[in-house]
């Protein structure tokens, strides 16, 4: 069950222990079949594990949607240098709150996924990079990890298999950009969390200069299930190219916000109206951001007929991203929300690339001026032009992410901007 509300339309795969405090305990986890996938993986061998994950079609759940099995297959099969597996638990994308739940309700599921992934890519060291704010969550994870070490599931000669894998929890210190995979590696190495130029790619030069694979918490949590039941089994949910289940984080103006684990391809309007119990106070839907603040906004009209899989959302003009669905009702002040989102990117920009460093701050200043009623119509042209120069011109896509809500909101909610500009007053209530 997802958390804090349950829907009978859910598929309780990764989230079956949500809301069940016993699920954290090693005994419970093992009782329910836990670490059986790890044993099976050791019997299969690393390459067979990679093939199974490839067969499942599992796509990275952190937002990029890159096929996990393919990513694992980039790693050298004959290690001449240490390999690293990194788990990206730096959940900072506005609207996303699934990894926190996964870690605090089912830490062993994640640990098992980390171990299997590390085994598959021939890594002996794994780090779980958690954002610094997750104090409580990481303490739960650390206790579970301690129990796993004591139980012989982590460390030297795991379960007598001869495989050594060490896992370490690493806390960040407050930087959204450290969720970007190369910035995460830099942060792990004790540097400023600035993304690196690719190529070289992490599988060639990653953490500490060694071949590295990075996966999101949700991706790794799915791995034990895929290994236990097979890749083909995982395909029973979802669509041809977006397989399996996904944790959807719904926030905003719905009656039952929270996490819901549903098959990919689930209709967006069903999620809002049925699973989440509809709009609060019976208000009408105005806009939805389907994949976290980095993706273009969809109008209510555009949401009809959209299914929550990577292809369908892209066809509708946005992206599924990390599946953080932010729902906005008719009274939402769109310009204010966009300004707040751009303020966030301006605050979080690492500052390396000129378009992002200067552009995010500039966009934020213009939007604030418009919101305060001191905007001009040329400002909209400037916003669009600046956004264009911020897209596709930088080392990482934070710059593109800041531009996306600006462009999509001007295209689709231009009247709100114009109202502020022309009348110098707020159109709509927050």
């Amino acid at each position: 069950m997802a958390y804090p509300y349950v829907s009978d339309r859910e598929v309780r795969l990764l989230s079956k222990s949500f809301g069940d405090p016993k699920g954290r305990r090693l005994e419970t986890y093992v009782e329910r079949g836990g670490y059986g996938a790890l044993k099976k993986a050791f019997e299969m061998g690393p390459d067979a594990v990679i093939d199974e994950v490839k067969a499942s079609g599992l796509r990275g759940r952190g937002g990029a949607g890159f096929p996990a099995g393919v990513k694992w297959s980039f790693m050298p099969k004959e290690p001449t240098r240490p390999h690293y597996l990194l788990c990206n638990a730096d959940e900072s994308e506005p609207g996303t709150f699934k990894d926190r739940e996964l870690m605090r309700w089912d830490p062993h599921q994640l640990i098992e996924g980390v171990l299997i992934a590390a085994y598959a890519i021939r890594a002996k060291q794994a780090y779980i990079y958690c954002r610094g704010e997750f104090f409580e969550t990481t303490q739960i994870l650390a206790k579970a990890l301690e129990d796993a070490y004591a139980g012989g599931y982590v460390g030297k000669d795991i379960l007598g298999s001869g495989v050594d894998i060490d896992v370490t929890i690493h806390l960040g210190a407050g930087a959204y950009i450290c969720g970007e995979e190369t910035a995460l590696m830099n942060s792990l190495e004790g540097r400023r969390g600035q993304p690196r130029v690719k190529p070289p790619f992490p599988a060639a030069v990653g953490a500490f200069g060694m071949p590295t694979t990075i996966n999101n918490v949700e991706t790794l949590s799915a791995v034990p299930h895929i290994v236990s039941n097979g890749g083909a089994w995982y395909r029973q949910w979802g669509t041809e190219r977006s397989t399996g289940t996904k944790l959807f984080c719904v926030s905003g103006h719905v009656n039952k916000p929270g996490n819901y684990e549903l098959p990919l391809g689930f209709p967006l309007m069903d999620l809002i109206e049925d699973v989440c119990g509809g709009m609060t106070n019976g208000k009408a839907l105005k806009a939805v951001i389907p994949g976290g603040s980095s993706v273009p906004i969809l109008t209510a009209a555009e949401c009809k007929g959209v299914n929550l899989d990577y292809e369908s959302v892209q066809a509708a003009g946005s992206m599924l991203g990390c599946a953080a669905v932010i729902v906005m009702d008719e009274d939402t002040h769109i310009v204010k929300q966009v300004r707040r989102i751009v303020d966030f990117y301006a605050h979080e920009s690492c500052g390396q690339c000129t378009p992002c460093r200067e552009g995010t701050a500039w966009l934020a200043k213009i939007l604030r001026r418009i919101e305060d009623g001191k905007g001009a119509e040329e400002d909209l042209d400037t916003l669009l032009s600046v956004s264009r120069h911020m897209t596709g011109t930088t080392i990482c896509v934070l710059s593109d992410s800041a531009a996306a809500p600006v462009v999509s909101s001007i295209q689709k909610f231009k009247d709100e901007y114009l109202a502020l500009i022309r009348r110098g007053e707020r159109a709509g209530v927050a």
């Binding site: 958390y3 804090p4 809301g19 405090p21 954290r24 900072s92 506005p94 609207g95 996303t96 709150f97 926190r100 610094g132 704010e133 997750f134 104090f135 409580e136 969550t137 990481t138 303490q139 739960i140 994870l141 650390a142 206790k143 990890l145 301690e146 070490y149 060490d166 896992v167 370490t168 929890i169 690493h170 806390l171 960040g172 210190a173 407050g174 930087a175 959204y176 942060s187 190495e189 004790g190 540097r191 400023r192 969390g193 500490f208 984080c249 926030s251 905003g252 103006h253 039952k256 916000p257 929270g258 951001i289 603040s293 932010i326 939402t332 929300q337 989102i341 966030f344 605050h347 979080e348």
Partner: protein, 221 residues
Amino acid sequence: MKEIPFKNPGWAGNTGEFDLTEAEVRGEDFVGERPRAGGHPSGASAYPYMLAEKTPDAKLFEGDYQARFEKILSRYPNKQGALLPTLNLAQEVRGHVSPETMNEVAGLLGLSPAYVRGVTSFYTMYNKRPVGRYLIQVCTNVSCSLKGGDDVMAAFLRYTDTELGETSEDGLFTVIEAECLAACGFGPAVQINSQYYENVTPADVPGIIERLKAERAGSAG
């Protein structure tokens, strides 16, 4: 079941369809008291580094903290990799990362002080100046903003009698804005030192402040 002092102290425990205590949701019933020396080295850096008790002139490091520091060091292939966990530990002990602290950490890890300054200043959670006993971080990002995060922020400023970013006269509270805390479905979300408070409404704020003040009065020294 533990007595809930008021409807929503905010751990998302009594929202929705689950019947859980605060300890169960926060995981306190599972984690228990974590040893200051770090427990198993794999989790030696998984500690709250925002505590109410701060000792700005504490040594870096001694006793249990020294043991934890050594465990942290053992988990990285080089000393530079231990920089963030070491800074976290220094802040846990001293309450903030001053230039003096940066210099000492640089010495401990064989890095240049300027380098450590560059890294420290990059990350938001390192307090560059001393903060109040309770650092109240209110999320005003989009999901929380849609649920009234700005009003919650205003309420905290009012009931702590502070300006944004400033410490109250009694040294108890500093209120700042936080970026998305990853509790979006339970917004507005607030982090006070290392604890999350969720589903906070402006009406809850005076109660939270009273609870913190009572905690302060009740704790030793």
